[in-house]
Symmetry: C2
Subunit: 930 residues, 2 copies
């Protein structure tokens, strides 16, 4: 048969040309041509559809002639005949454009049925009920789609019949009832359209083709294309697929099912799927019968099973991807109806990636590209068992992934106390502060009622890899009574809850969990990723444990070791406070001398964990007041104390006086006992003048340190210039630890980083001291300590002065959190709670710039800084240690900006490694070199 | 006489060659050559000095021969002889390098005296005491400088003689005693050097020349040059000036004095100065006799006075500048000893500038350049009478210039209350807040104990042109008792004090004042300045009064009209608070509807004041919480209220119970009366539950609005996007006022400016609303309202996106205060109180970037923004409205950056106009076109 202008049989259609044949049509052609048993059929091209509209909704000339030829071809292939009562050919007429638009356009099944062929089908299938059910469906679909009769007219009739039959469900209707429905449906069509249902299959066919074409310009489809911005370049017109109907419900030698070429849950290389004997696809959907696993088919139909195995290999060999396919077995004959790339969970995706490279199905680049970086997150955390049926009581913001179960505790001290006893804890706070850090260590997870993905709780939890749900606003927390209320529920200290930081769900009680898995395959894939990326991935790690984790996950160094986290350790905080509250240089020195050995041992342990890899230590960054209680707390305490004291003074002698009154007389003074108790209580609390003094002293210092805008305040290198002894102590601790490490045989590569720098003079100021201490300690320990000296670039002015800074700094590390705040003049904490949601809602910003690096503003500044910095020092090493360092889109931008490395929290390292490879492969693809 | 290699007579030396002849030598040559009666003399060049050191401290060959020739010349001119007993020639030997190094090098007077010539001098002067005093001075100076005998040896002897004579002061010594001193000084020299004092004047001369040369490399001089970074290019070697001594103390026909070619206090064009008959310069210094005004000399010596008048004109004609000169009259003959440019106050400088242009002495460019812009500040404010002798009790930071006297008041409400009664008030606060604004209006001046030049108090006071002394830290202010303590002093409410914001002084009581003067001459000079500057000067003005003032001082427009100042008006603040605290859109609308007419009338009045000139109105900028009390204040009040209530509840019945006790019994309860009083007092204050509720409500709202970093918070256009009705109300008020103004016949040029913009979308968001309201109001009023739409550029990202912003914005106005904060990540308030002083002290920053625009960082960003903005819109108008707009160095940078205008507070407008002209003239000079 010669190819027509508009129609293409599955044997001849170009399986790559989705624009012409639509996605479904191309797919069916492709499957046919690689030898799969697709039911015979053909495609009417999208060109015909366009022509149809061009000509004012008229079928193109010659189209129906072509259709007739192709139907004749089908009749020949199947031995059936369109409208033939003995062996009727039934077909489906389906829409299908270049892009999938699920449910937007129309499909008609069982076309070819009429009062005549129905009888033939009953003969053939011996299943009268099935045939009438098919018939009434055709009548309704055809009536609605081709003839424009509204569903409600059919539904009304159908409901009447059900009522007459006392049936609640469709499935309760008998063959006779369904025949009755068919009869009445035909009457509906006659009544509504003024003409009878067309029994002529050719007329059915022509009407159906036109109807499918028209559905392309239907309101639903047009709206959908507008909504998803589908342009004519992407999809123009719909094709029409005309396919021989096959039936899996023609007896026990028939079946229908769904298969995967590999197990989508584990990635195992074996046929996987479900099937139902003597059933149609919709029986599976109806859920009346339970499908059986495909392996059972080996017993039921060994021959067909072998065919399926062959089909699986054919599919994979051709598509080079795991396939998810539909099949029907009609009287022992296997038909493949559809295939598409199989959706898999992270575990399966990774295993198949590695296996299929080993099997030669694709190369490493493809293996890398198949796995979206974010998917790796799933592998790193415990997760709620997907089979769990519990309903969450509240849903907050998914702030740090993973699930945790534990007893509710409302303050950090208590969390620590219970944590020591081995209790699993969920720390529940309105919001958290740096001084709660010990509570984080002691807890399995964190739940807050305020703050977003970049709140303190979220950032710290992510850094520690602990699950966190933030901003669960419906949670009313009352610290005083140690309760949290959600609607009528009350959660008390000690109650067990489960939180899921991957989706923000919070459950009452304990929900079953799956443990994280991180297989050899993951490491293999990540090693490949590293080979395909120039951008290195380092980690932000403040403790030896985190450093070890980072190393395990493949970090090439530590890009940010925050020394203030060490200050917040509950054993050290009192010493740090002594340092800050010190009234004399001597007192300050005493505190410094106690802190030094603590810091030294911190550093030594990190050097041990990272021997051979660089460790970038950032000198103290936060403002000192962050280590003290707030003025508001103190002021309120003081105000109360004073009030008590004043009352006490005025009433000093009263209680004694009352007590010495004659007992008889006391009776006349109502409430006197309670009053006396109150007094002695107040006295105890109120008369402590020493406590008052102490609190007032602290308040004075807090007030002096208080800042209007702490983000822009006395912090980082600015603190160092005011109190040189702090950085001197830290630098000394670093070099002493390095010296000790070298003696132990470690390979120590330390990099000292100065935060908040805005001018060359600051950097020089610190550098002079570093050089002096380095020299002194090299001499004292008689070792050679190599180190690098560099700066954070997180102040806008540092970008503007990058050329100068690079004359001293051997490396730059962009602190994109702070840099973003300064570039936008957005305070992160304020912005995310107040106006940022509105900004993204109104599309004033496309993304939250604290989550996705703002390439137009912040990126531009970085670009300038890198260019000027490298002009001064061509081998300037440049990295990023803001949270963006673990976010795939931002990582891609970092690569474009020419960074050497990104640094992120240890648990994000795998994601970042994969993202770095993706970025590079994407760029190579765009440049045409892949 | 032929000119030598090293020596130049005053008649032949090149008066312009300071490098060769030193400053003093060149000056004496110049004066001689223009015909002034300079005492004969000559200069030994700096080349001789350099040669002296080159040859290892040996006088150059032939030098002394030259000296001898020049001395012979002097002898001829004076008729005196070196060493001649009858008529001895005495000379001074003075150092003098190209740059003045006051007191660093040596000078010897009366050289030529010896035992012989002393007798001659006594004959000539008939003043033995004077001659021996001169002699003993020569001996000591010569001994010390030329022979290296330490002062202490001379001083010891001198003290002995004084003791013997029972004299306390040198002046009490008789001629005989001084002769005795001279004799003993000669013995000191003999004893200490082993040789007698050289009586040979030639030997004296040679030794003195060498000594002056050596002083160039003396420790003092070398240190001085290092300290002030004086390089050899600037001054290399010292010259030696040898000048005939003249004496103003040779009788009543002799005198000495100092003259100005014009009055340096008023600029009046007349001879001005002081003189003393029969006196030497040092007599004036000793202060024993009171000098007389020069006009008296007209009677005393009419001939000499005429010569002085001639000299004055000769000087001005030559130097084209007011001169300050020294003279001596020796026996009726006038000698000019020195001349230099006269130092004048602002008033005199301006008058002479204008006068001398009119007299043709110099042109307008010179007139402009002569007056430093900052000097104009002096003219704008009342000032403390310079003759006042009172001592300040404390000195703070000079935060806003001018002086004010008034009664001390410690809070803004009280200030307003007393201010209404016409009392002059000085508002004294620890620091001020926006809600104190009504107190500023009511006060003459402001004094704070905290904060610097850019504290709230300082900025607001400068904006209003009111004097302010800030950061007077020794002032302990106690609001509760309405007292301020400074050491043992206590200042109470109502006490009168005087503050001087020009130098930071604070005085107890009332100090006499001079009223400001702003003469026609100032306006003339400023008009010239405008003609010589392309950069326009606009003003920041929030009220009609300020606008009028700005216009009076020559502002070409209003560059910043802050609408929030209007919100802070005490009558409006309650409505603004209603708006913010509103719980429903209706309540918000009600408040908005009340605010609208107020704003409209504000704008209309400003349009009236500025008809014909542009008025740039900035829509609301500060975060809403700035209009509310602080959380800390509220929390403390609430905590107290609660405490009271609790006590009250527990003790409810007690007072009654106590009161009903038998009076006889009451005696047994000590202090019962006081207790009862306390209770009823507390009850009154404490039991107001309604007040508590209200306060708690407000606190809740304040907490919700509270921000961690308000500078980077929910403000400017961000508030507009959250509460569109606020900007809509303001825009409506602007256009309605414009429409009304146009009907009145005003020429309204309004420019609407959006603050805190960081992305094009924000600007578009506001622009859409502005366009809609504009259209509506044009239609309603049936007028054509022209306006411009633009943006503040104060967020770093706005600079990066300037090209995009300029597609909507017709003008940019740099808010350099905020931009500087964001660029440095310095919060101004925090930085200036905490680390900035240390930064400038350690030279980490050269200047406070909030005072002087930081050209390397902030300026760089501005440059980029202007370039990109004008690429999009070539006629983009660019200005600056930060405080830098009134600072001369910053104005010069703004000119270089290509700005169209600077906008500053009205009182800075004159300074800025002059600075703009200076910048332009400076640039033209550098480019060689002037």
């Amino acid at each position: 048969m010669a190819p027509g202008h508009y129609c293409f049989s599955f044997e001849e259609g170009d399986g790559k040309n989705k624009q012409l044949l639509g996605g479904k049509g191309a797919n069916l052609c492709e499957m046919t041509q690689i030898g799969l048993p697709v039911p015979p059929g053909f495609v009417i091209s999208t060109e015909a559809c366009l022509k149809y509209f061009e000509q004012g909704e008229k079928l193109p000339e010659g189209l129906m002639d072509e259709v007739r030829q192709h139907i004749a071809d089908l009749e020949e292939k199947t031995g059936k005949g369109l409208g033939n009562r003995e062996n009727p050919l039934l077909v489906s007429v389906r829409s299908g454009s270049a892009l999938s638009m699920p449910g937007m356009m129309d499909t008609i099944l069982n076309l070819g049925l009429n009062d005549d062929t129905v009888q033939g089908m009953i003969q053939l299938t011996q299943n009268e009920r099935f045939v009438y059910d098919s018939y009434r469906r055709l009548l309704q679909l055809f009536g609605k789609i081709c003839l424009g009769v509204a569903d409600e007219h059919f539904d009304k009739v159908f409901d009447q019949v059900k009522e007459e039959q006392h049936a609640t469900f469709d499935t309760e209707l008998t063959a006779a009832a369904l025949r009755d429905v068919s009869e009445r449906f035909k009457e509906v069509i006659q009544k509504r359209t003024g003409s009878p249902f067309p029994h002529d299959p050719w007329q059915q066919l022509e009407t159906a083709i036109e109807a499918v074409f028209r559905s392309w310009m239907g309101k639903r489809a047009v709206d959908y294309r507008r909504q998803f911005k589908i342009t004519p370049e992407m999809a123009n017109g719909t094709a029409v697929n005309i396919v021989t109907m096959v039936f899996g419900n023609l007896g026990n030698d028939s079946a229908t099912g769904v298969g995967f070429t590999r197990d989508p849950g584990t990635g195992e290389n074996r046929l996987y799927g479900d099937y139902l004997i003597n059933a149609q696809g919709e029986d599976v959907v109806a859920g009346i019968r339970t499908p059986r696993p495909l392996r059972d088919l080996r017993q039921d139909m060994p021959e067909v099973y072998r065919e399926l195995e062959k089909l699986r290999h054919t599919l994979e060999k051709h598509y080079r991807e795991v396939q998810d396919f539909e099949f029907t077995i009609e009287r022992g004959k296997l038909y493949a109806l559809q295939t598409r790339n199989g959706k898999m969970n992270a575990w399966a995706l990774i295993k198949t990636s590695v296996d299929m490279v080993n099997e030669g199905l694709f190369n490493e680049e493809v293996a890398i590209s198949r796995v979206q970086p974010e998917m790796l997150e799933q592998l790193l955390h415990r997760r709620i068992d997907p089979d769990n049926k519990m309903e969450p009581i509240i849903t907050g913001i998914a702030a740090s992934p993973g699930a945790a179960v534990g007893k509710v505790v409302f303050d950090a001290d208590r969390a620590e106390q219970l944590g020591r006893l081995g209790e699993p804890i969920i720390l529940v706070r309105i919001e958290t502060k740096p001084e709660d850090i010990h509570g984080f260590f002691a807890s399995q997870g964190i739940l807050t009622s305020r703050g977003g993905k970049t709140s303190h709780a979220a950032v710290v939890a992510r850094g520690m890899g602990k699950p966190c749900v933030a901003g669960a606003e419906a949670l009313e927390i009352h610290y005083d009574v140690k309760e949290a209320r959600i609607g009528e529920h009350t959660i008390r200290e000690g109650d067990v809850i489960t939180i899921d930081g991957s989706n923000g769900n919070v459950y009452l009680g304990s929900v079953s969990m799956l443990e994280p898995e991180f297989s050899e395959d993951v490491f293999t894939l990540l090693d490949w990723a590293d080979e395909h990326a120039d951008l290195e991935v380092w980690a932000n790690a403040d403790t030896p444990e985190m450093a070890a984790l980072a190393r395990k996950y493949g970090a090439k160094g530590i890009g940010l070791c925050r020394t203030e986290r060490m200050f917040n350790d509950p054993e050290r905080l009192p010493v740090v406070r002594e340092l800050i509250l010190a009234d004399s240089p001597e007192a300050r020195k005493m505190a410094i001398d106690r802190l030094m050995p603590m810091q030294r041992s911190d550093f030594l342990e990190i050097f041990r964990a990272m021997s051979g890899l660089p460790v970038t230590i950032r000198l103290l960054d936060p403002p000192l007041h962050e280590f003290l209680p707030t003025a508001e707390e103190l002021a309120s305490e003081i105000s109360n104390l004073k009030e008590f004291n004043q009352i006490m003074r005025s009433l000093e002698q009263l209680p004694e006086t009352l007590m010495v009154l004659d007992p008889e007389l006391r009776k006349y003074i109502p409430g006197i006992e309670a009053v006396s108790r109150e007094f002695s209580d107040y006295k105890q609390r109120g008369l402590d003048e020493r406590l008052l003094k102490q609190k007032e002293n602290t308040l004075r210092k807090v007030r002096a340190l208080q800042e209007v805008n702490p983000m822009l305040g006395h912090r980082g290198v600015r603190v160092a210039i005011s109190y040189p002894e702090i950085y001197e102590m830290q630098v000394r601790a670093i070099f002493e630890a390095a010296a000790q490490g070298l003696r132990e045989g470690l390979e120590v590569k330390t990099e000292i980083m100065v935060p908040q720098v805005c001018t060359l003079q600051e950097l020089l100021w610190v550098h002079r001291r570093v050089v002096a201490i380095h020299e002194e300690i090299e001499k004292r320990y008689n070792v050679k300590i190599n180190y690098k000296f560099g700066t954070m670039v997180e102040v806008v002015r540092a970008c503007m002065r990058a050329g100068k800074l690079a004359s001293v700094a051997e490396f730059f590390s962009f602190g994109t959190n702070d840099l973003t705040q300064a570039t936008f003049s957005f305070s992160r904490e304020d912005a995310e709670n107040k106006f940022l949601p509105l900004y993204t809602e109104h599309q004033i910003l496309q993304d939250n710039p604290f989550e996705i690096l703002d390439i137009k503003g912040v990126g531009r500044l970085m670009q300038v800084a890198i260019e000027w910095g490298r002009k001064t020092r061509s081998d300037l090493k440049v990295g990023i240690c803001g949270e963006h360092g673990g976010e795939p889109r931002s990582i891609s931008m970092c690569r474009e900006l020419g960074l050497n490395y990104v640094s992120c929290s240890p648990l994000r390292v795998p994601v970042a490694r994969l993202a770095a490879a993706h970025a590079q492969l994407g760029a190579q693809k765009a440049a045409g070199s892949l």
